[in-house]
Amino acid sequence: MTELTGGLWELLFKGVWVTVQLTVFGAALGAFVAFVVGVARTNRLWVVRFLSGLYMEIFRGTSALVLMFWVFFVLPVAFGWQLVPMWAAVLALGLTYGAYGSEIVRGAIAAVPAAQHEAGIALSFSPWQRLVKITLPQAWPGMIPPANNLLIELLKGTALVSVLGVGDIAFGASLVRNALGDSAPVYTIILVMYFVLAFLITRGMRALERQAKAGLGQKPEKGAGVLRKLSGRQQSEVSRDLSSAGGA
């Protein structure tokens, strides 16, 4: 078996950095889209609700990989917009996963008791104040567990960009594979790398959830066994989150 030299490891770790960047920027754009679309879906005007629902159905309905091909190959030819590959990838990821995230935001807002909303009206808060000071702070902790699952889907989705030549982990792996002429070690290594990244995301989101729940005066759930800690995602959420899962 051929050994991975220092240079080849460097390729992989450069890929890790690109994957992390893609995940962070994709998540930032996705979160922005999710909040805008998710809040718009609770709007009073039916036009706003309809347009945001249309956006959600279109971007959830199509495949992220096909959308990425479209951004990479069709936008430049059809509209003359040539984006830097990295940003084209972030755009495609953010728009797709933002559409999934909008359902999380909408669901969490719907779960806030109606009395809170009515109290805001009774105290003559403006709609914006109601949203920012009453609804969102209470909806926020409920969004975190499903958002964790979605973030892991996003992390997995970033691997798609390697097909289009952005130098992420999977792209680095294909270079290393060509150099070594041996696939098993390098693909095993990068699968472990992705798993570690997913694990770090889960740890981070759990910490965020504890903090968010403490902010509302709620205590976090206890009793996580070793297996549950090992597990990448939050099991209790699976049944609620079914409709929004997958789709990379």
Binding site: T62, L65, L67, A159, A170, Y194, V238, S243, G246, A248
Partner: protein, 216 residues
Amino acid sequence: MQWDWSAVGDFMPRFWDGVLTTLQALVFGSLIAFALGLVWALAQRSSLKVVRWPVTAVTEFIRNTPLLVQLFFLYFVLPEWNVTFSALTTGIIGLGLHYSTYTAEVYRAGIDGVPAGQWEACTALSLPRARTWLAVILPQAIRRVVPALGNYVIAMLKDSPMIATIGALDMLGQARQFSAITFLPTEPITVVGIAFILIAYPASLLMRALERRLVR
């Protein structure tokens, strides 16, 4: 923006071939995912730690790593071990294996949702274990999770173009090949994108309707 309807017309024969391949991958991938997922779910409930732990670890690992990389792994590493499949078969195995780890969670939630009284009734009637599972628990559990399983079939549909990256000629694979020959990427890729929405949206409406009927 230039749009050439004749290019759409030229792409159509390939497109239908691609649809057929995509549906093939979807059907066989789903069958593998449904069967294997049930195996994982039952193994995770085993009383033996030797069974439970490795299965949980493996399914967590598969679920938290990208399908694309798993496909590359299967496509490049298996031949090194002298196991060779076609691109489509590799894709089907990859899709099925990846989504089996999701369906395992669905089955698990379904089994957990069966009321404890049902288990107790089986004990009271001293039904053998096989009969408890096959005649009492699984029929109730699976009925509840049909819509959730359907949602994963839709998710699998949207992940299926990944098999084009290992050379299977599904919808996206055909579009890529067509644009490589004609240098016209706009029409085939747009057609494929719209086709996904046209298949996925009615399917998700169907699942929502099923959910209202089956899950009470």
